[in-house]
Symmetry: C2
Subunit: 328 residues, 2 copies
DNA sequence: TACTGGAGTGCAAACGTTTGCATGAGAGCG
DNA sequence: CGCTCTCATGCAAACGTTTGCACTCCAGTA
């Protein structure tokens, strides 16, 4: 059906081996200039496309990297996908995407399809999954705020991010500062939570939590309204992420609360949406460009030299001050 | 290095053919119950994982589908990716993602890696790309508002969407209604534009355009401000998409214009962000769930029976009325 | 008893590459 | 002329599956 190197070989009058050496690039320097040209031309004319399965079978490489995402709901995640895909593409890899949030089982058939895995956030933390990966020795880079330190990883230091957020709120005069978080993230060794607690205690203040059942805007909005009705208005709210911050913003608006004079609000992650609200939100921006680039770089290094020791980087997020914390 | 069917065959005391029949599932019914069990057990014990390259080589199938996205910036695109990945996963396929916006060249090496392609929006319209696909006879489903009708496709009828938007604006009393669009989309046979023009002329009104250099919020905001300063305030604005609508909202707010009393605003696509603004935006919601599901279904059908005739569906978007067009 | 048929299994040939090793032809040198 | 060395190429064995065909039993039937 499709064109093979044999057909090209026949047409040019050389052996398949020669054609392979020219077209795969691996042995092109061994072949004479004139033969090389004739092979390229024949390949062009016949519309040759290499059979990648056959190539993989013998080389053991696929040229594909899997990107495991813990979720894929928001523009934040879209941005990660975009950046990773872009960098992988530049390095000649294709990107296989796999979203963990709606998995039927833990077993993944397609591991043999990829040369390595980039895992964002918790995608890879399930002990069962992690053990499987270890057993099969799949090159893996974990990245994001919630990272697996047993393997190569690029972390975002959101402990520090949370500390910055709280300190900023203290500076603009807040004393009662609440932390808005979803029920799940509350316990999972969450660095934001730890940073918040740490900064509050350092300031001699009592931490308090507003807990929403999930990370959706709607639930965040609801949770904030309930909380305010029961416990009164805090001076400031630090939110687990920007999505929840937008929910909080929404909830406060429904209550007729004025930002930033009555409540100061800080989000986390740095998505574009918080910038376009009537009162743009102060946030902690994650350096996603750097993270994605570094993660791809780590993986590539690992693929080239499997035996090198563990690669690790921690990136600092940056406080971006906007109207939601700027009091007159 | 890794476990093969030969090793399993040896351990169980049968031929590789038998093992293959059991584990691939393709010939399992031919094999006796007891042998089948022994093979499964041995495979389990040895931690067998099939070599997918070898399998692909002989079957000609890969179990991977490519998703071509025209862009990947917004939550709208994230949602498409998520839905497609979910449906493909359910059908046993892995998803290879490829974003067209930052391509180095038109040639794609990895076509042989996939069984078929799902292309969202303009991803596949370049004549060169389209011809290549035709030549290679890659199963292809085009989907979105801007669709390739020469192949299987699931379209969103945004001509009708735009008509609904304009009619709605007319109903709430607008006469001067402008269309906010980016420079590129302006000419590309854009259905929104055509629908807008059609509805305006049907109402005996003159179309007018606000043109931004690109689809970004920032440029949309700027374009609207410039336009208003030069030509005065229209009664209503229909925006090419929600991102631009948010930009317009932002621009109008900077001008101190009040929504919806001074200007009524309608977006397009139906992303979540427009719902959480201080004045939630009326929009035209695309039925993405249905689109993605249908697209996957079409592709599957095509893969099962390559010779069937062209599959086509057109879905109607839905007007979602919110505060930005509800005058008191 | 001889024949038919089906159930269970094995043999061996693909599938399209890559690559270690061998080969042959010249060229350069003494 | 004979030797060595390099350059360009070919040979053939992998890589791990799947699958058409053939074979062997054994039970059922005439």
């Amino acid at each position: 059906m499709s064109v093979t190197i044999k057909q090209i070989a026949q047409r040019v009058g050389v052996s398949p081996a020669t054609v392979s050496r020219v077209l795969s690039g691996r042995g092109a320097h061994l072949i004479s200039e004139s033969t090389r040209q004739r092979v390229w031309q024949a390949a062009e004319e016949l519309g040759y496309q290499p059979n990648l399965a056959a190539r993989s079978l013998v080389t053991g490489r696929t040229g594909v990297v899997a990107l495991w995402m813990s979720q894929l709901y928001t523009s934040f995640h879209a941005r990660v996908v975009q950046l990773v895909e872009e960098h992988l593409h530049q390095q000649g890899y294709d990107t296989l995407i796999r979203c963990i949030s709606h998995l039927s089982g833990t077993a993944w058939h397609g591991m043999g399809r990829v040369d390595g895995i980039l895992a964002h956030e918790g995608a890879v933390h399930l002990p069962k999954v992690w053990r499987t990966l270890q057993r099969r020795r799949v090159p893996l880079v974990s990245m994001g705020a919630y990272v697996l330190t047993e393997t190569d990883h690029v972390g975002i230091d959101l402990f520090h991010g949370a500390v910055q957020a709280v300190q900023h709120l203290l500076e603009v005069g807040c004393r009662r500062i609440a932390y808005l978080v979803n029920a799940e993230s509350r316990y999972a060794g969450d660095a934001r939570r730890d940073g918040y607690d740490h900064a509050m205690r350092a300031a001699g203040l009592a931490p308090e939590c507003i807990i929403a059942p999930d990370q959706s805007r709607a639930e965040a909005s609801l949770a904030v309204r309930r909380y305010v009705q029961e416990f009164g208005l805090p001076h400031g709210i630090f939110c687990h992420n920007d999505e929840m911050a937008i929910g909080a913003y929404h909830g406060l608006r429904l209550l007729g609360v004025h930002l930033p004079d009555e409540v100061a609000l800080v989000g986390c992650d740095g998505i574009e949406d918080t910038e376009y609200l009537d009162v743009p939100l102060t946030t902690i921006r994650q350096p996603l460009e750097e993270m994605c680039q570094l993660a791809v770089q780590f993986l590539q290094k690992r693929l080239a030299e499997p035996q090198i020791e563990r690669q690790s980087a921690w990136l600092r997020p940056k406080l971006v001050v906007r109207a939601s914390t700027q009091r007159r």
